[in-house]
Point group: C2
Chain length 422, copies 2
């Protein structure tokens, strides 16, 4: 069973908006064991959409379409589906009264354009939109089942989950494609690839590949088979990968690095504080992304200037003068001082040059020192010297991720120098 | 002149990775005045890629392909292009010696797989990769010019800019499509749409539409014509839109909100500090994203706990007890205290409930108070009471953006209450 995804909108083809809907739908299909090897993105052009629908139905069992169901002039999907089906649009009375009820509820006047949203191709049916005005459309053309959703991500996801996924689940039957991603921070894709090269044979089942996204490398494992079978294959391969890469792996699937760190802190009833220079609050922001982080993160400092490093957390100005703000010594002192001021178990400190320029050859762009002060007495301080590449944004992100990675390893009782590649 | 974009990779079709390349290329084409009404995303399947290439060349003058040029087993684009062209792959000696030089430079051994990267279809040519190993491929098939790029975004962008864009620019000739986005924070898309509804006629030239991305609403204006003509149309329409929406517009095109705020601070030789509770460092992170922000942002606090609000910036604990941490009074005091501690001209303070749950009916999820203390004496304090919807992440982002928006308006000498919709 295979599917094609069509996303509609000039804002997508012109690159103004990232096509996050197609990625989300692709992931859903993968998890349902439905193969999706083709996605189309088409501008707001009725005949082009209709032509793409007609061509797609010759190649797939399932056609998912999102976007172009809105009430404005450039929303043409409804008409294009009718054109592809060779059917007139008719008013769906149930959808119309739902729409009327919606507008009464939010106390707004319903326009003629909104009424058009309740129309559907003659043999199709309307699908309720649980969080917006545009109903979806479900139709059958030749041997293909067509599912149309609004383009607003929240509405699309709700409609897919509530109305389409159960049908797809039933149709997908007994063979599923399972997927697992093992996530790594602190080692490059090629370094990781070299350790699992023999597992990455093309066409194998389970198959293994790597991807990088925002500084996180994911080893992804796919397996196809009956549900229990595929699950077992994934588990076995995941164990092999874990054996090769060990503690470098911080999580599976969608669990974020900061979530893992916050969970480890909470389970150890430990607290952490932050003193950030070049990351400018990013680490604190990541930690506080996690619901419940208030139990382990009470406070942090953004000590962007030399003066604030001294005034706010008490770094001896002489240390800054002697070694420079971007130095091992300042990172260590920042961590130590922040930990003591915050009365936290752990402190993360970052000082570095995120660019775009360097006015000191000793501090090239991308040079970042990350300090950790821990709970085992005054000397429990570790500093890692990192040289990141990329632009300002990615240097700052990599620095924040590396700081969290170092803390994660420390919380496991490990020496980062022994786990991370040099 | 029209183009099709093909993106290649299982990680894209399966939804593991967002297809940012297609969006970026779409934007480039739009700016070059080259119409792109179709984008395809195809899995790592040689015959499917070859078939898509053969079909695409019947529909476009320009075919842009990204991804699948790497050294591993699942990189099949090179072979698929050769298959579509009906040509053998041959070794390109110049590309090969470039590759060999690259590996000598980084002191690594070149593998047999890397050698394959220097191969190209017989009549095609290799294109230098300025920041990676995979050369691009330039080919002509039937009447279509094919440009192949690596999938790594940085390498793709560099190759497009250096090698393909100049050719496309020359080929696009005299009619261009210009685009401008006017960016707004602090008002919803429907509110904005209602003010410019008459400008949004479908098919007009220039045409006007709205998009929302991460809390920023953009009014986008497209104009097609000779370069000077299109530029003038855009300018005239932009003036009309500016007249309607006034100071709600914070920038044009890609200029970020934080950049506008930092520039305003720098031009007024003013400084700002931050005291963040529910945003957890996000505002500081945004401000320090801007190169040169160290001249106006010296320090900030993440006062996530009640205790740190008192200990670190000196909020009277009784104010917190009396009014609650999420209150107008605490936001005002945080701003006032942070401003005075940091000796800054301005202070931004945020306290609110970002969810996911609320244990106090008086503080529902999404209720956020944003305080600003300004340079005009002790009473120069403004607090805005906001009720945001969405998940934790979007409440935190909206809060940070609203704080920057309020500061932006204050720096312009405006009353936010008079500019922002209620």
């Amino acid at each position: 069973m295979n599917a094609i995804i069509i996303s509609i909108g000039d804002e997508l083809t012109s690159g103004l908006t990232m096509n996050s809907n197609a990625a989300w739908l692709g992931r859903q299909l993968t998890e349902l064991g439905i193969s999706c090897q083709l996605q189309l993105t088409i501008g707001d052009n009725q005949s082009a959409i209709a032509a793409a629908i007609r061509q797609s139905i010759t190649q797939c069992d399932i056609l998912l379409i999102s976007g172009g169901l809105g009430p404005t002039e450039d929303d043409l999907t409804r008409r294009a589906v009718a054109e592809a089906m060779g059917e007139p649009l008719v008013m769906d009375q149930v959808a119309l009264s739902d729409l009327e009820a919606f507008f009464r509820r939010i106390n707004r006047t319903m326009t003629e354009n909104n009424r058009l949203q309740a129309m559907r191709p003659l043999s199709a049916s309307c699908v309720k939109n649980s969080c917006g005005t545009a109903p979806g459309i479900m139709a059958r053309l030749s041997n293909t089942q067509i599912f149309v959703m609004p383009g607003v991500p929240k509405e699309m996801k709700a409609m897919f989950e509530l109305s389409y996924k159960p049908l797809l689940q039933a149709a997908a039957g007994n063979v599923v494609r399972r997927i697992m991603a093992l996530n790594i921070c602190g080692a490059g894709e090629s370094w990781i690839g070299s350790r699992i090269a023999d597992l990455m044979k093309r066409g194998a089942n389970p198959s293994v590949g790597t991807t990088v996204h925002d500084g996180i490398v994911s080893v992804r494992i796919y397996a196809t088979g009956k549900p229990a079978e595929a699950g077992a294959m994934i588990e076995a391969m995941a164990n092999t990968v874990r054996h090769r890469l060990g503690e470098l792996i911080f999580s599976a699937d969608q669990v974020a690095l900061e979530t893992v760190v916050v969970q480890a802190l909470l389970s150890q009833e430990s607290t952490v504080t932050t003193a950030e220079s070049c990351t400018g609050g990013w680490i604190a922001m990541m930690l506080t992304n996690v619901p419940g982080s208030s139990a382990c993160f009470k406070r942090g400092w953004v000590t962007y200037s030399d003066e604030s490093k001294s005034a706010d957390i008490g770094v001896d100005p002489e240390v800054i003068t002697k070694y420079g703000a971007v130095s091992r010594e300042v990172a260590a002192t920042m961590a130590q001082q922040a930990r003591s001021r915050a009365e936290a178990h752990w402190a993360l400190a970052v000082t570095g040059n995120a660019g775009p320029v360097s006015d000191d050859p000793k501090n090239p762009v991308g040079l970042v020192y990350i300090g950790i002060a821990g709970p085992n007495g005054h000397g429990d301080i570790y500093v890692r010297n990192c040289q990141f590449s990329g632009d300002r944004q990615s240097i700052r992100l990599r620095s924040s991720q590396m700081a969290l990675t170092l803390l994660r390893l420390k919380l496991l009782g490990l020496d980062p120098e022994a786990v991370l590649p040099p």
